[in-house]
């Protein structure tokens, strides 16, 4: 029986008011790929931050081999052989590949001069191992994202790694690039390195991992062998209830076509997109990051210029030149990044909610504060927004309540078409369900709703029809009856549909 490369036992981590990790135990064997799964907020990244030395646990122990260790900081963790490949790449774009790989550890000669020869030698050795197409002198800024990720991985190999943590590594990769990544992971496995793989993508998890550990709400739910598990059992562990994959059945009548898009293209972002949405309908957009869904929404909202194609609102062909334009024409967008795009965190709740219509709420030159507060109160009640009052700074609200402010903001504009991009990302399960019900009821009230989502249960539950996108194109549009998890996953992974079964 081999010893695990690393073992965490009974890890507890608290922040003011929140118990982020509640006695979590986790171990990784040498040469295994161990998946770490859980919904957003389950504690996965907190656990990894504890392992990586960024946070200190309040209770619990970390063991490597037989010894107990303390990870005092990221450098310490690295020195002990724990390497983190983050989702956000942290590279210096102006420097060369070699300088990035050895950032902070450039080999020196006397007087602080860089030892270029040694640097090149060491870098080439690593690059050879990874079998990449670029060389040590290339400026990192000129590499593709996939290659930049390779540079990050190469950085990992400068250390005698015992464990490598991958956090959503395939988010921006094409299929071909994923194959290269998986090969690298295999090589690491063969060297006896323990791999921790954090991802939401079931397909990959079931393809390359040996064991799966699930966290929920900071608590350890269990570890299973990948061979013996399936989607449903794992999902059940993640959400603690049977997945409500009830297909959406609309009982109300659909109205006219509110929005129709024909042959819309926007450079490299997406090509030849055609779809329509009716009043009373929820149209889902499903696909991986980079499929082009958000870019499509941004084009409809006037944030991008289409290079070809037509947009028709209520039958009439329109040009949308700016968000103000889109808003005037009855299109509203609840954006993907609620803190960066949806809210001004330093402003209070009321002001945030009434921002798009601030020009309208006036008498003479002044804002009519009474009307403003009315609007806020209306949506506070309707959406059940929890806040001590309208004066509260939006930055102090929870994720779910912040999202409701953004949704309220756009509902108050009474749009014809409401586009919602990742409506429940980073939100607790309770609020998630509220928002889903809300979206369904908006459709029943006659709105044309477009929901962009990366969560399969969500899009299956909420949408009447689903547009599956991959790499900037629509692969297939499914009705509620036709869609199954299988054919949906296949569509968004780029697999062309065979003749309908």
């Amino acid at each position: 029986m081999t010893d695990p490369v690393l073992r965490l036992e009974g890890i507890v981590k608290t922040f003011p008011g929140v118990r982020a990790l509640d006695g979590v135990s986790f171990s990784v064997m040498p040469g295994e790929v161990h998946a770490l799964m859980g919904e957003n907020g389950a504690g996965k990244s907190t656990l990894m931050k504890v392992l990586g030395g960024i946070h200190q646990p309040n209770e619990g122990h970390i063991y490597m081999g037989d010894d107990e260790v303390v990870m005092a900081g990221p450098l310490e963790a690295k020195a002990k052989g724990i390497v983190f490949i983050h989702q956000e790449l942290s590279l210096a774009e102006e420097l060369s590949v070699a300088e990035n790989i050895y950032l902070g550890e450039l080999p020196r000669k006397r007087f602080g001069r860089v030892d270029w020869a040694t640097l090149a030698e060491k870098t080439n050795a690593i690059l050879k191992k990874l079998n990449v197409g670029f060389d040590a002198h290339t400026r990192v800024g000129s590499l593709s994202i996939a290659n930049q990720q390779m540079v990050e991985i190469a950085r990992a190999l400068t250390v005698d790694a015992k464990a490598v943590i991958f956090d959503e590594p395939t988010a921006s990769l094409t299929d071909a690039e994923k194959v290269v990544l998986f090969d690298v992971i295999s090589d690491l496995q063969a060297d006896g390195v323990g791999i921790i793989y954090i991802s939401h993508r079931m397909e990959e998890i079931f393809k390359i991992t040996d064991r799966i550990t699930v966290l929920r709400d900071g608590q350890y739910q269990g570890t299973v062998e990948t061979r013996t598990a399936n989607d449903e059992s794992v999902t059940q562990m993640m959400i603690g209830r049977k997945l409500d994959l009830s297909r959406n059945v609309s009982h109300h009548k659909m109205g006219d076509i509110a929005l129709e898009v024909r042959g819309l293209s926007c450079g490299k972002n997406f090509t030849d997109i055609s779809f329509h949405v009716r009043r009373g309908e929820v149209l889902g957009f499903y696909g991986l990051v980079g499929a082009g869904r958000t870019e499509t929404a941004e084009t409809l909202f006037g944030l991008r210029d289409p290079s070809a194609g037509e947009i028709r609102l209520d039958g009439e062909s329109v040009r949308i030149g700016s968000p103000a334009d889109a808003i005037a024409r009855g299109i509203s967008l609840v954006p993907e990044d609620r803190k960066g795009q949806g809210l001004v965190l330093g402003m209070n709740c009321r002001d945030n909610m009434t921002l798009p219509q601030v020009d309208r709420m006036r008498s003479g030159p002044f804002i009519t504060q009474g009307t403003e507060i009315e609007i806020f109160d209306k949506y506070k009640d309707q959406l059940d927004i929890r806040t001590p009052g309208w004066r509260q700074q939006v930055g102090n609200l929870s994720g779910g309540n912040q999202q409701k402010i953004v949704i309220g903001k756009w509902l108050s504009m009474h749009p014809t078409v409401l586009i919602v991009d990742e409506p429940t990302r980073g939100i607790d399960v309770g609020s998630k369900s509220e928002i889903h019900k809300l979206l369904r009821s908006l459709a029943a009230q006659g709105y044309a709703v477009i929901v962009i989502s990366s969560e399969m249960p969500e899009v299956l539950h909420v949408a009447d029809r689903i547009v599956a996108m991959y790499s900037g194109r629509i692969m297939r549009t499914f009705t509620s009856d036709e869609v199954t998890e299988d054919n949906l996953i296949q569509a968004i992974s780029g697999i062309k549909a065979e003749a309908a079964a």
Binding site: A92, G104, G267, R304
Partner: protein, 333 residues
């Protein structure tokens, strides 16, 4: 971020093309507008140009590393003035009375030390308080100038030490001492930025500070050293210039920071940090000096020069933005 071949070429070589353009423009315009009979591109004129580039140029080299690092220093003009005063004044101090001409290196050393110390002070404040370099040096621009008046009073300080003047006016291999200093500083800083760990780290810190911190690079001391370097160079520039001129006015050096930053930005260094080169800055310095000389050659006065320099700075920003525009399919924020 991919740019077309043309814009890549423009970005790298643009400044040199600009210099060539200037030479052509002023030579031609000079034929018609000049008051003097000599041609613009006269050999002696060009050598003089290099010498006159030295004060701004020496400081600009320091500003390059500070800006690549992600910082900026608006107090260089004031440091320049203080160093000049210390240099000239200290040569007459009673404690040095017995040294004769040996007071020269002592005074130089004193001036350089003061400059370095002031620079280090800036760096220390930026490091320890976390206040942005722009604000810190905006404040020290005022504060150091206050020190200038405190030490010197409102009248100019003069001290003509003929040995020093002779040294300053000497020519070695046809180039003035000032020119040698400029070339020397350029060479040293080029070496530091391209060949040493400290220099390469500067790019990393300016480009992605978080990545640098996570990689274990000690950002605080690094920035302190860079500010000390520019403080030293501001003092060096003063020593080089005032050795020859022998008289300093407490208001001297005002707007120096503008010239220096313009030269650095012109030479291709990004305001946001992480990119730039010492050679590019050298080009920027020459381009600006060429502009001043050229405008003077065709009869323009200082006010016009100020006007033009200000406009050039803005034009450079504009061109830089145009070259980096990604295209119509990008997000219109």
């Amino acid at each position: 971020m991919k740019t077309g071949a043309l814009s890549e070429a423009l970005k790298k070589g643009g400044i040199w093309g600009f210099i060539v353009l200037e030479l052509i423009f002023f030579s031609v315009a000079g034929q018609f507008l000049s008051i003097s009979d000599k041609a613009f591109m006269d050999g002696g004129n060009m050598l003089l140009l290099l010498k006159q580039s030295a004060p701004i140029g020496i400081i600009a080299m320091g500003m390059t590393i500070v800006m690549i690092n992600g910082n900026i220093d608006l107090s260089v003009g004031a440091t320049y003035a203080i160093a000049a005063i210390i240099l000239l004044d200290s040569m007459t101090w009673p404690i040095f009375a017995g040294l004769g001409d040996w007071v020269i290196p002592v005074s130089c050393l004193l001036a350089l030390s003061v400059g370095t110390a002031l620079g280090a002070l800036n760096g220390l404040i930026v490091w320890k308080t976390g206040v942005d370099a722009f604000i810190v040096t905006l404040g020290s621009m005022l504060g150091f100038r206050g020190l200038v008046f405190m030490v010197n009073g409102e009248n100019p300080t003069s001290n003509l030490n003929w040995t020093l003047v002779d040294l300053a006016e000497a020519e070695v291999l046809g180039l003035a001492t000032a020119t040698w200093f400029l070339l020397g500083v350029t060479l040293v800083l080029w070496f530091v930025m391209t060949r040493t760990v400290h220099g390469r780290n500067a790019y990393a810190i300016g480009d992605n500070r978080e990545a640098a911190v996570n990689a274990g690079i000690r950002v605080g001391p690094h920035m302190l050293i860079n500010f000390a370097i520019i403080g030293f160079l501001a003092a060096l520039s003063a020593v080089v210039f005032y050795s020859e001129s022998g008289s300093v006015n407490p208001n001297d050096g005002q707007l120096f920071e503008l010239w220096v930053i313009t030269a650095v930005v012109l030479g291709g260094t990004k305001i946001t940090g992480g990119a730039g080169s010492v050679i590019g800055t050298f080009g920027g310095v020459v381009a600006i000096q060429l502009l001043r000389k050229g405008l003077g050659h065709i009869g323009a006065d200082t006010s016009t020069v100020n006007l033009v320099i200000g406009l050039i700075l803005i034009a450079v920003l504009f061109i830089d933005r145009q070259l980096n525009v990604k295209g119509k399919q990008e997000l219109r924020i």
